[in-house]
């Protein structure tokens, strides 16, 4: 994509200026409220994650039983020492929320990369070759959708032993279905464009055609799906950690924080509220960003 505006002199002394594709896109981005809102929320969480060591008032793992279950600053007993209060072990909630952003984002991105790898390659093959390859891949999608994802993930993580790496691999291997569906449909469409048979006639290898002719045209949709999938994976990780079969204590995963807060929620409801709001903002941000990107890159629909 060139960033320079093209201008044509039609020989009439008039100069017609066409905005570059990049500029059209930027203009659309600035006009889309959902996209901007999503981008803001996402940036906020990324900043929290990156700056966690600098902005956290306390160590997220530091326990102080004399300071346990302090309420947030806006309540009567609250103090600025612990702006969001402390949990049942006296750990600072604000610092745990900051460090929790790291876990959510790390898991979200890594799972998405695994899923995108599996889904895109299978989708490319199914869409390009069709026939028996397509049938096998479609069958895989049907089987995957028939399995109850949360239950399988919980069972497998519990059997192998809960840790962040296990959660990432297990979830990554479970959420590739949307990548395949979208990539496959797109490839089927692109395959009939003139430039693909042209490349074939010019003697390009299948690998070249898939990577250099088809892949670049998939990128927009892939980015949209990837963004939405990160949101979905973060939601799944939170559910797993909430059930106690995901990220293990004492790590400050938001889902785990909700599970720990659940024991005390009748007296201290903010222990459940705070990590939940953080999760909500991140997932809402990812969804708005994904939907916004779809509108920005292909306003006619698609994806």
């Amino acid at each position: 994509m060139t960033d320079q505006a093209q201008s044509f002199d039609k020989g009439l002394g008039l100069e017609v200026v066409f905005p570059s594709p990049g500029r059209i896109m930027r203009r659309r981005m600035l006009k889309s409220k959902g996209f901007l809102l999503g981008l803001t929320m996402f940036t906020l969480v990324v900043l929290m994650a990156l700056l966690a060591p600098l902005i956290s008032p306390h160590d997220p793992y530091d326990q102080d039983l004399s300071q346990r279950l302090i309420t947030p600053v806006w309540t009567e007993q609250g103090s600025w020492e612990y702006p969001l209060g402390t949990d049942y072990l006296g750990r600072d909630n604000l610092s745990r929320v900051f460090y929790g952003a790291r876990i959510s984002l790390l898991i979200g991105f890594s799972c998405m990369l695994i899923a995108a790898g599996i889904g895109t390659s299978l989708g490319l093959l199914a869409g390009y070759f069709g026939g028996i390859v397509d049938m096998v891949v479609s069958f895989m999608i049907t089987v995957r959708l028939a399995l109850p994802a949360v239950l399988v993930a919980v069972a497998v993580v519990a059997l192998i032993g809960g840790s962040m790496d296990v959660v990432i691999v297990v979830l990554g291997c479970l959420v590739w279905d949307r990548f395949i569906v979208v990539v496959r449909a797109n490839v089927q469409q692109i395959k009939s464009m003139d430039y693909v048979p042209a490349a074939k006639a010019a003697g390009c290898s299948v690998f070249w055609i898939l990577m250099r002719e088809i892949m670049p045209n998939l990128m927009n949709n892939l980015v949209v799906i990837a963004t939405l999938e990160i949101g979905r994976v973060i939601l799944l990780e939170a559910a797993l950690s909430f059930l106690g079969m995901g990220v293990q204590p004492p790590m400050p995963s938001w889902g785990l924080m909700i599970a720990e807060g659940k024991e005390f929620m009748l007296f201290e409801p903010y222990l459940v509220m705070i990590p939940g709001v953080a999760l909500f903002i991140l997932i809402l941000g990812m969804n708005l960003l994904g939907d916004g990107l779809r509108d920005v890159t292909s306003p006619e629909g698609g994806a």
Partner: protein
């Protein structure tokens, strides 16, 4: 229709076989299921005993075929933890989960279809934006968190609803909402886009020109066409809901199969976990098969494909 029926049935059978293999292999991912069953503190003789008792020492394929042929006859083995037949344990619990799933699905339909229709007949108005906002917020809220918030607000603060158990219908209200709202956005979007498409078509214009009442046009001519794709999604959503019930049942202490699965995972009661995964997958396969048939019945164009 018959050819289509046979094709779909064949696919459903193949998927069932694949799913049974996966749920069979699932409990073996950690390497040795005998160690998991015997517990971490078990001696090597105890592990050896469990291995022989359960036949883990035989070739995998023999184990699978025996397990599968028993499963077809309705025998899913015995729970080593409870010393009860797995089918009996599941049978006692499935009613709660089914009730919850069907309530949640009805809730989702009753909320999303009217909203979707309203959004479609008044596009780009406040009601359309309200529907969109509900769907965006709905998709971003973790269902277990939403459940806990309801418990805090409705159950504890205002004491309107009971917070755990399954004794009365009132016990099902909060779990139904928590499980059902998550499916609302998908159904609503589908109804909205379907209605928009149908309302722009020729036969609606003709019906309007004939002077039919607007309500009749909407219901008889537009919604009937727009609802066809929704039927397929409903079956899928019900399948997801039954799968997602593990989280909601845990939050509300509803003793359905989701809760049973969670408890069984915690105590390494592997035959139960395996059976529940298999059962939920088969329910999903049956539901999608039925919805395919219903779709083909409603829309003759599908049968030819």
């Amino acid at each position: 229709m018959l050819i289509y029926f046979c094709k779909r049935l064949g696919l459903a059978v193949l998927v069932t076989i694949a799913v049974s293999m996966i749920s069979f292999m699932m409990i073996r991912v950690s390497g040795d299921p005998a160690i998991a069953l015997a517990g971490e503190a078990a001696t090597s003789e105890e592990i050896e005993f469990v291995r022989e008792q359960y036949g883990f020492d035989r070739p995998l394929i023999v184990q699978y075929l025996e397990w599968a042929s028993r499963a077809i006859r309705g025998d899913l083995g015995e729970s080593p933890y409870m010393n009860l037949p797995v089918t009996e344990m599941i049978g006692n619990r499935i009613g709660v989960t089914m009730t919850l799933g069907i309530c949640a699905l009805s809730f989702a339909v009753l909320l999303s279809v009217p909203l979707g229709v309203l959004a479609a007949i008044r596009p780009n108005t406040w009601i359309d934006r309200l529907a969109l906002t509900i769907s965006v917020i709905g998709q971003a809220m973790p269902s277990f968190w939403f459940g806990l918030i309801m418990i805090i607000v409705l159950g504890v603060k205002f004491r309107l609803l009971p917070i755990s158990g399954a004794e009365t219908p009132a016990h099902f209200i909060m779990p139904t909402i928590a499980l059902g709202y998550y499916a609302t956005p998908a159904i609503m979007r589908l109804v909205r886009s379907g209605m928009l498409e149908v309302l722009a078509s020729d036969h609606i214009r003709t019906a309007k020109a004939k002077g039919l009442r607007w309500g009749k046009i909407l219901y008889k001519h537009a919604l009937r066409n727009a609802i066809i794709p929704v039927v397929a999604v409903l079956a899928v959503q019900l399948g997801f809901m039954l799968g997602g019930s593990i989280v909601i049942e845990t939050v509300f202490a509803l003793h359905g199969i989701g809760h049973l699965a969670w408890v069984s995972i915690g105590r390494s009661d592997l035959p139960v976990v395996q059976a529940i995964v298999l059962l939920l997958s088969i329910i999903y396969v049956v539901l999608t098969f039925l919805s395919d048939m219903l779709n083909a019945f409603l829309d003759p164009r599908i049968r030819v494909k």
